[in-house]
């Protein structure tokens, strides 16, 4: 089969299918992932082809889903858990942070929990409350978890397959506003990069825009717009939030001398805070300006009619770019 033009949803679906085919211990479990195929249809058709024992509709209880996934992993299974929406992961937070993240260390390595937790995350789709959250900092703050977020269908496909194959627990954040973006995916090809490598999505020399998941597209558009003003903006797609590929970031910022971090999550104590600190430590003498951050405000995620005010957009990114370039 040659490369196909897939939406991110289809790219993820195909990744799950390949993973289920490759390893009989791989399971898909979550609310409505079976007959319905998931509320976003990411698991569409899997129940029909792999059956009840492999694609499991669970009771409506997120802690229960996580806790039983841990038990299944102890038994030698490789569960891929779907949390239906970002805001519904909190009931499972204890199982993720207290149990999933720590059990390998507590058992001095005797236990492995190869559990992948898929979470459609972020805003921008006009959803009701609790359906637009960006909680990556909570997970990235927890040792024992790996956290990744793809920005496009190709990465979505390969990173999910890599996450499932990993023997560590991986929080897999799917940018739901990009679910319907298209990209050319070749499932028979090879992964374009290791799971935890960052990627220079657009080269430039004047400033580095750092983003992941849903904001990569906004940053690429901002770089395009800045180019019209004669600014060559580099965009780094972080891809992995824990671990972070600081070497790629450092190399980029040492070239450009300026960095702006962009994410949907609130700026305060967000990924951008850590990235800014680390970049400052590594690139202090190369920096021409302080590392700036663009993100959500320190307020609950707003009702959908005003979410565009809250979410970083082209103009807010360009405003930060201008401020950084003005130093």
């Amino acid at each position: 089969m040659a490369a196909e033009n897939y939406s991110m949803v289809k790219a993820l679906n195909e990744a799950l299918r390949r993973s289920l085919e490759a390893d009989p211990k791989t399971l898909v479990m979550g609310e409505d992932v079976g007959r319905l195929g998931g509320v976003f249809r990411v698991t569409d058709g899997l129940h029909k082809d792999f059956g009840d024992a492999r694609v499991i509709d669970t009771p409506l209880a997120e802690s229960g889903i996580m806790g039983t996934a841990i038990g299944l992993a102890l038994r030698g299974y490789r569960p891929v858990v779907e949390i239906q929406f970002d805001g519904f992961v909190y009931p499972a937070f204890d199982q993720i942070v207290t149990q999933l993240a720590k059990m390998h260390a507590r058992a001095l390595g005797h236990v492995k929990l190869p559990v992948t937790v898929r979470i459609p995350f972020g805003g921008g789709i006009g959803a009701v409350e609790h359906h637009s959250e960006s909680h990556e900092a909570y997970f990235a703050h927890t040792a024992g978890l790996k956290v990744v977020s793809p920005s496009n269908p190709v990465d979505a496909h390969w990173m999910l397959r890599q996450a499932i194959a990993s023997d560590d627990p991986v929080i897999f954040l799917e940018p739901k506003r990009r679910y319907w973006d298209k990209g050319v995916v070749d499932p028979l090809g090879a992964a374009p990069a290791p799971l935890h490598a960052a990627r220079v999505a657009r080269p430039g020399r004047d400033l580095t825009l750092i983003a992941y998941g849903p904001m990569v597209k906004v940053c690429l558009e901002a770089a395009e717009a800045a180019a019209e003003d004669g600014h060559q903006i580099e965009v780094v797609d972080l891809r992995s939030l824990s671990p972070v590929d600081f070497d790629t970031l450092e190399a980029s910022v040492k070239r450009t001398g300026r960095a702006v971090v962009v994410h949907e999550a609130p700026v305060f104590m967000g990924m951008g805070s850590e990235l800014a600190a680390r970049i400052t430590e590594r690139c202090f003498y190369a920096l021409e300006a302080p590392v700036l951050r663009v993100g959500g405000y320190f307020a609950p995620y707003p009702p959908s009619r005003v979410e565009e005010t809250y979410l970083p957009d082209l103009d807010r990114v360009l405003d930060a770019v201008d401020r950084a370039l003005a130093f």
């Binding site: 806790g67 841990i70 009931p91 059990m103 260390a105 058992a107 972070v244």
Partner: protein, 373 residues
């Protein structure tokens, strides 16, 4: 439905309490649960009970001597744990709280393994796969879901292993325990929920957790619940065996409420005189789980003084081994905090380990401090 208070009241007021050996050591029959025991098996049960209590007492003493940071005593719950522990086959898994020292003993786990986390040299550390005994779980109730998931895996594998999930009366209020009941029920998982109702969740009596006897909760989830005399090792053995057989035969989960009493403090950091009366303790002393087995052995003339003396001597040997073992437990190497954080490694962990090693080396002058911090 009758709602009655159960904590600390006489067992006569409690409905459907399965008992095969009375507190006085009289062997009685129960219409639903029978048990054949040989004299040899009974002597072995007695030995387990005594050794487990001696081990537990030694651990409490080691805490008082400063060798352990904390200890959660099982005093009074030996029968519930030895009965349910001995009911398991080697292929069965136990998912404990942090108090299942008697179950660990029956599964063949070296007692010294249990003391590492209480001394502060690890957070568990044993290999759960070695004896099919999961690490202790401190956050209340979480392990019941792991047990249920594990049991779901057994169903997928098509083997006749089963799982025992341990928890307490306090945990019965946790969402995770109720979710575990739900998952186990709808997937018909081969898991036995073994609740040791020791009447107290630190300072809160069972009335603060439930208005109905806990075993009756099972009915709402669609599986059987049985209340057993938790101080009667034979009843605990018989009922757990029955529940495990149900699990193996594809009949799904069972809730067993072992009605017992926490004779000691919640942990060595607790002071139960602040919240419960001494009379209650005196009443439960009369139901001691070990004395009744001894009385039965003596009455049947299945054991003589020589046997009891030998068990006592063995228990002192065990205590000595534990005492020396704990005192000789080495502190972990500081760099061990960076070990096993991930199965496949993590760049930041590696970086911080290197930073720490360089920092530590800066004190002995043998190596330059690393760049950065």
């Amino acid at each position: 439905m009758t709602v009655e208070s159960t904590a600390g009241t006489a067992t006569a007021a409690v409905p459907e309490l399965v008992q095969l050996l009375t507190p006085e050591g009289e062997r009685v029959e129960h219409p639903r649960f029978s048990l054949e025991t040989t004299p040899e098996e009974l002597r072995s049960i007695y030995r387990d009970l005594v050794l487990v209590r001696r081990f537990d007492g030694e651990a409490t003493a080691l805490q008082r001597q400063g060798e352990l940071g904390l200890w959660a005593s099982l005093l009074g719950q030996e029968a519930a744990q030895v009965g349910s522990g001995r009911a398991q086959r080697p292929g069965d898994w136990a998912f404990p709280t942090y108090r299942e020292h008697g179950v660990a003993w029956c599964k063949g786990v070296d007692p010294l393994n249990l003391l590492g986390m209480f001394r502060g040299v690890n957070h568990g550390g044993w290999d759960p796969y070695e004896k099919n005994f999961q690490l202790y779980t401190i956050v209340i109730g979480s392990q019941t879901l792991h047990a249920t998931g594990y049991a779901m895996g057994i169903t997928k594998d098509g083997t006749d292993d089963a799982v025992v999930a341990y928890f307490g009366d306090g945990a019965s209020s946790q969402g995770d325990v109720n979710e575990a009941f739900t998952f186990a029920s709808v997937y018909n998982a081969p898991v036995v929920f073994f609740c040791q109702n020791n009447q107290w969740a630190i300072s809160e009596p069972t009335e603060r957790q439930t208005r109905v006897p806990l075993y009756q909760r099972a009915a709402g989830f669609g599986f059987p619940g049985v209340r057993v005399d938790g101080n009667d090792v034979l009843a605990c053995l018989a009922v757990t065996r029955w529940a495990l057989e149900r699990a193996r035969n594809g009949e799904g989960p069972t809730l067993i409420e072992a009605f017992t009493y926490r004779m000691g403090a919640h942990t060595t950091s607790d002071d139960p005189t602040r919240y419960r009366i001494a009379d209650e303790l005196e009443e439960w002393k009369l139901k001691d789980p070990i004395e009744r087995v001894k009385a039965y052995l003596v009455h049947e003339e299945w054991a003589d003084q020589e046997f009891f003396d030998a068990v006592d001597a063995e228990s002192e040997q065990l205590a000595r081994r534990v005492r020396e073992g704990v005192r000789n437990m080495p502190d972990p190497d500081p760099t061990s905090i960076f070990e096993n954080v991930y199965a496949e490694g993590h760049a930041l962990v590696d970086e911080e380990r290197a930073e720490y090693v360089a920092y530590a080396a800066s004190f002995d002058g043998s190596e330059e401090v690393g760049e950065g911090r």
